[in-house]
């Protein structure tokens, strides 16, 4: 599951993520993080048998968790399948199909926005 975690300023100094990994049997991958003393956001991918308990723990510690179904969205109408985005993707989430239709793999996407900012027709959007 991918989710945005929102940290309020009063909890940024607590080692919550460290405790999370120590206490629960989960796999945890930080895709993006922007956390300052004023609070912040983190995009994570979490999986494992104790996923539910881990999420409850984060809730108790004051992290707001917002699950997302889609990290990135391609507007099929706007996309001209030029492929300018392919080589900009740091995780190889954008690949051409056999017929050169440009395909975005949402599971791989880390929402870095490199493609969004460089799309000539503004056809890719990172979901917030």
């Amino acid at each position: 599951m991918k989710a945005w975690l929102t940290f309020s300023p009063n909890i940024v100094s607590k080692p919550i993520i460290s405790n999370l990994v120590k206490n629960y049997d989960i796999t945890f991958n930080i895709l993006r993080a922007d956390i300052t003393p004023k609070g912040g956001k983190m995009l994570i991918e979490i999986s494992g048998t104790q996923q539910k308990q881990a999420i409850d723990f984060m809730g108790k510690e004051g992290i707001h968790l917002n699950p997302i179904n889609k990290v990135v969205k391609k507007d099929e109408e706007k996309c001209i399948d030029c492929g300018a985005c392919i080589s900009l993707c740091p995780v190889e989430a954008i690949k051409p199909a056999e017929d050169w239709t440009i395909e975005v793999d949402d599971l791989k996407c880390i929402g870095c926005s490199f493609c969004t900012n460089s799309c000539p027709t503004r056809a890719i959007r990172v979901m917030e």
């Binding site: 001209i80 399948d81 030029c82 492929g83 300018a84 985005c85 392919i86 080589s87 900009l88 993707c89 190889e92 690949k95 051409p96 017929d99 050169w100 239709t101 490199f114 900012n117 460089s118 000539p120 027709t121 503004r122």
Partner: protein
């Protein structure tokens, strides 16, 4: 010479009879490989090509029709994008790269986007200004137009369909935003723009069938080649008959009222400008065995240079050559490292266009034309623009006494040097005058405020520099882009030779 096996007139008769055999350039590659060029030339009548790429040198002549009372438009704006109106009363030319006059919109909605909106049938706001004459009394107009409502709209593109085009990479340590798309630092990616084996002018590289008056597919309409494009060249290095760099180009014309939005698109190359994705397809009549062989060219046989856009000069260094099969594979090796590649033109649309053109011919809706005059196939080169004023290089700037700091200097000593010499930057160097960092008056203030005593703790280590051999104009752009006020000048051994400041440069430019 190759024997002529059939004429365009004969091919047209077969198209009318529904007997013509038409294949795409990609199919032709396989057919010739299997059966040989001679048999292919006997069997195949027409090979269709296609490309769908960003073509900046595009635009449209618009004739708005006359209002009552009439107006002699001297400035016109379409959805905020200015069209050139230095023509007769209600004629204008809208260029694809013209930015929006609203700076908040700027490059995001330019001439190319207006062209797309017109072709989509969307309403466009027209604002026209005039000085008023006896015969054209009106001085301003604000109204809504559509493609259907205006008198005429003719796309005329001075330079489309480059025969081949160098791929781009970037050796510098910062991201570059170019007409070849976003180029990642340290040769992090490669961007290529040709459709390779499907590309029109690579399939008839010596223009044996293509010329003024050739009927073509243009943005979903039947358009025409109206001559060679600008920057047309023939005297270039070739491999397998096709140029390895830019060479032939086309000037194209088509009626916008017959175009379709599937095959034309307004776009913006980030931080570069707006551009028009133009869909073009050219039919090549297979009149003889040689043309069968030429149209059979494959991606493997088409070579392309990869050049370094990190050098903002007319002639950019060549990093290596590659063929389109390699480029289209998605990764290419540069200096021992695997680098991802991106096409800039749509390979999918290129094939769609070649197939659409094939369908038109198969249905008898599109007949070939005999060109009035073939495009030149030799003797053409591109002339550069020489700037008459001698180019000023960084080393030509009058240097002042070189004042330097060393990593062991006390903060107070650095502050004293700055005040005594009325300067704001001090390069920090080692024993051999090699650059280690730069310290500004702000860094010194910062050190004092935080009680830091070591220069190395407050200096900036990643320094933006100027090289002695670089033109001053390039440095002006660098200062502007990085929002800095000065940068150290470095020689080829990385020794500091001086400082160049924004003031030095503005004095130079202002002094002209």
């Amino acid at each position: 010479m190759w024997d002529i096996m059939k004429t365009i007139r004969e091919i047209n008769q077969r198209i009318k009879d529904g007997d013509a055999v038409v294949v795409t350039a990609a199919e032709m590659t396989a057919i010739v490989r299997e059966n040989g060029a001679k048999q292919a030339a006997e069997e195949i009548d027409v090979v269709t090509t296609g490309t769908f790429g960003a073509m900046c040198s595009s635009g449209a002549f618009l004739n708005f029709g006359h209002s009552d009372p009439p107006i002699k438009m001297s400035r016109t704006y379409l959805n905020g994008v200015e069209a050139y109106s230095g023509l007769a009363a209600v004629d204008a030319y809208l260029g694809a790269t013209q930015p929006n006059r609203n700076p908040d919109i700027g490059l995001e909605y330019g001439g190319s986007h207006v062209i797309e909106d017109l072709i989509r049938g969307n309403e466009i706001e027209l604002i026209a200004e005039a000085y008023g004459t006896d015969c054209y009394p009106l001085t301003e107009i604000k109204t809504q137009i559509t493609l259907e409502s205006i008198n005429e709209a003719v796309m005329v593109n001075p330079r489309n369909c480059y025969q081949n085009y160098s791929s781009a990479t970037n050796s510098t340590d910062e991201t570059l935003y170019t007409y070849m798309g976003t180029l990642l630092p340290n040769m992090g990616n490669v961007s290529y723009s040709s459709a390779g084996e499907l590309s029109p002018l690579l399939n008839d590289p010596y223009f044996q069938t293509i010329g003024t008056g050739s009927r073509i597919f243009l943005c979903g309409a039947q358009g025409y080649i109206i001559g060679e494009g600008t920057q047309f060249a023939t005297e270039v290095e070739r491999k397998n008959g096709v140029p390895v760099s830019t060479a032939g180009t086309l000037m194209l014309r088509g009626n916008m009222k017959e175009m379709h939005s599937d095959y034309v698109r307004g776009a913006t190359m980030p931080k570069y400008g707006s551009t028009l994705y133009v869909g073009a397809g050219i039919p090549i009549p297979i009149l003889n065995e040689e043309l069968a062989q030429r149209t059979a060219i494959s991606d493997e046989e088409i070579t392309c240079r990869i050049v370094d856009y990190g050098v903002p000069r007319r002639s950019k260094p060549i990093v290596r050559e590659a063929n389109y099969h390699e480029l289209k594979s998605g990764v290419i090796e540069l200096n021992g490292v695997e680098v991802p590649t991106s096409p800039l033109s749509s390979q999918k649309k290129a094939l769609e266009i070649a197939l659409k053109l094939k369908e038109w011919i198969d249905k008898g809706e599109f007949l070939l034309t005999v060109p009035v005059e073939k495009l030149p196939s030799k003797g053409r080169t591109v002339k550069p623009l020489e700037i008459q004023k001698p180019r000023i290089l960084v080393k030509d700037l009058k240097g002042e006494a070189l004042i330097l700091a060393h990593p062991t200097d006390a903060i107070s000593e650095v502050a004293r040097k700055m005040v005594q010499n009325s300067i704001n930057h001090l390069p920090v160097v080692d024993e051999g005058n090699k650059l280690l960092g730069i310290v500004t008056s702000w860094d010194v203030a910062n050190a004092v405020a935080h009680g830091k005593n070591k220069l190395t703790d407050v200096m900036t280590k990643k320094v933006i520099i100027a090289r002695e051999e670089e033109p001053v104009d390039v440095i002006a752009r660098r200062i502007d882009k990085n929002k800095i006020s000065g940068l150290p000048v470095i020689d080829s051994d990385n020794r500091v030779k001086g400082m160049v400041t924004a003031e030095d440069i503005s004095r130079l430019i202002g002094g002209d």
